[in-house]
Symmetry: C2
Subunit: 294 residues, 2 copies
């Protein structure tokens, strides 16, 4: 089995201080090391529960990575890893963004130390103000013909305006490193809009979150991805935008108390409103162009 | 002008330590003292802004008390009061519940002392877990022919199960002080259900909150009320259930940053799910009765 480091990881843990990072094989599988302090065990517990939960409808299941169990991996000190679907396997030039959902990333059952750490990060980022924060992204730059990835420290400090700009950059054809240039959001309607676009997928997830009481998705992320290869070939409408939920180390069963995950849902509604705003401003500028044409 | 203490106040400030409490007149107006530490001024600011905001649609405006300005009130040390519509004026035997919305009642702009105080209350109540907490209620007891109002200290300690029970008691015909008796939820379909019921009104509010970015309703309450007189006269379907938003001392303008109030909205979605659960369990027990009848 030939394993290598994934090319387009935008957030989450990486190989560091002798600890293994995630790996991918050439058959479309993603190997995720178990995190410390029972987080890894908790994530396995979630995947086991979710993959056998017959009450999760198929149209919702497709927003989660396929789970292939756990496996001891050679060359990685024989450590046990979670084996998942490699979400980027079928994309050759993917733009990717990781958005951590919820207006709080802590939960009452966690340790006091963890809660305080989360509270500080939540207040310093857009988590409290906007109900989500951008953890990382990588965009294919159509002018430079290369990938552009902002520094994580740069991202940590952004406020609401920065989030709005990042969500525009994510679907723009301009050179992205130039902060002065106005993002053209050229691919907004193809990626965010349409019956199979990001917005439509988010709305489908929202409907499920309005009634599901199985899980509380603390500190989970929404991963957005689309293909740039087809756009380069002139086929903008074949961008295959996709939403996936990832990172379940802090998911809790609701223990049958029947309460929905209002923390994730509130953040999701806010995120939806950001995406909808971009689509609407695109519509307006198209209408303006139409009116100003001779 | 003859002013008196309102009969059915279930939460909020009352006359205490020489400070005036709220008053009502015989023409359907409610006089609310301005709270200290700029909270009163902030509430007036909200009412002035909201009542002149032409972008709030009429079908949403009806969920807010009508605002009649401020007025110095005689016999109350000449203190200035906010003059509002008396929401209970047209009800003779109202059942009333005050539900404080949101999974947090604090906001980053507040003082550190206020934030810490809120955090403690939020974690001790169902605010963090359920996205709302019951601040108070008063129910007309159809067996005892009198009003029943749980002690505020009793309410402070209730968890998710207690909330569920309170929401059933609120629409039940049994004697309410007996904790052993099972609430029959006899009026659930008339009060919570139907095209003009509580659930329909909450869903209308939810739609507005999914896109409104004018105000962030920190520490606001939803007041639910219905009439028992008509039920006593055998007309269950004339209960006139009504949802109103109250308490705007901590409302903030969103300063045009375009973010929805995801904190209120998440809690509202959770509250809607509690109400919907009660209606569904009523449907199921009706269906069972139907099947078991000869």
């Amino acid at each position: 089995m030939h394993l290598k480091t994934p090319e387009h990881q935008v957030a989450g843990h990486i190989a560091k201080d002798g600890k293994p990072g995630p790996l991918v094989d050439d058959k479309g599988r993603f190997f995720k090391p178990l995190q410390g302090e029972s987080r890894g065990d908790n994530e396995v517990k979630f995947y086991e529960s979710f993959s056998s939960n017959t009450e999760v409808p198929d149209h919702i299941r497709r927003y989660f990575p396929v789970y292939h169990g756990t496996q001891a991996v050679e060359g990685s000190d024989g450590a046990s890893m979670i084996v998942l679907e490699n979400l980027l396997f079928k994309y050759s030039k993917p733009s990717v963004m990781d958005v951590k959902m919820g207006s709080r990333t802590w939960y009452p059952e966690a340790s006091e130390e963890y809660i305080q750490k989360c509270l500080r990060k939540d207040a310093a980022s857009t988590t409290v103000s906007s109900g989500f924060r951008i953890s990382g992204f990588e965009v294919y730059d159509h002018k430079e013909l290369s990938f552009w990835k902002p520094d994580r420290k740069l991202l940590n400090g952004i406020k609401v305006d920065g989030v709005r700009l990042a969500l525009r950059k994510f679907v723009s054809s301009n050179t992205l490193s130039e902060t002065s240039s106005k993002s053209d959001s050229a691919f907004a309607s193809s990626v965010y809009g349409g019956s199979n676009g990001i917005l439509a997928q988010l709305l489908e997830l929202k409907t499920w979150f309005e009634s599901q009481t199985f899980y509380h998705f603390n500190s989970c992320s929404i991963l957005m991805v689309y293909e740039n290869d087809s756009i380069l070939e002139g086929n903008v409408d074949d961008a295959r935008p996709q939403v996936k939920l990832v990172d379940f180390a802090h998911v809790l069963d609701s223990d049958g108390n029947g309460v929905i995950d209002h923390n994730f849902l509130g953040g999701l509604c806010s995120f939806i409103n950001f995406i909808r705003d971009i689509l609407q401003s695109q519509d307006e500028s198209s209408a303006e162009n139409l009116h100003s044409s001779p």
